[in-house]
Symmetry: C2
Amino acid sequence: MELYQIRHFAAVAETGSFTKAAIRAAVSQPALSASIAKLEEELGVKLFHRSPKSVTLTPAGHRFQMTAQEVLGACNKVKAELRASVADRPLRIGVLCRRPTRR
Amino acid sequence: MELYQIRHFAAVAETGSFTKAAIRAAVSQPALSASIAKLEEELGVKLFHRSPKSVTLTPAGHRFQMTAQEVLGACNKVKAELRASVADRPLRIGVLCRRPTRR
DNA sequence: TAAAAATACTCCATAGGTATTTTAT
DNA sequence: ATAAAATACCTATGGAGTATTTTTA
């Protein structure tokens, strides 16, 4: 299981369509289908009921969705946190902080 | 950012060594180094202070660790949940359930 | 029968491997 | 001096693309 699969899953769950999800995730429709197929294979469960008219979550899909959101949420949290993390890259503001010597 | 990078990060944080982490993650030491380097580059922060004697977390590394554990925890939760999810793959126990017709 | 998903390939980006060098104690 | 991380280079897996063929309401 990798994050791109979880992102693709979320896109399908949200749009209710592989084609629309592919556009949202900026990948081709076959790539997205393969990505979901591999995820389902690894998990050993079908996550979606597919038909030309609609793509809906299976019971397992619903369960997966909840934790999937936790995973993606935690990832966004990481990035947001570190964006504010300048401890190791101290800002050099004017003359207050001299440029460190090259090592 | 991908899960393998987070897993590799966790291995280094836990073992305090790239070499030991590589063994734990079942990859080569250079592969693990590259993986962490790419993660640091993407995040724009150094996650570890490295020296031949010790590898320790930077302040940013500490912050990353917390949320990284959330991510990995959520992933394990997903798998554990779905392992119990047999709704879409009903067990065929003896004669009680006939094998579905091939479509 | 007309959409949407699934196949069948082809390609290439990059994760990962081996060999070696550099670094810091 | 030595153990550990970084670098150089190569390989190959599999993620992603295009073209096409099933599906099923």
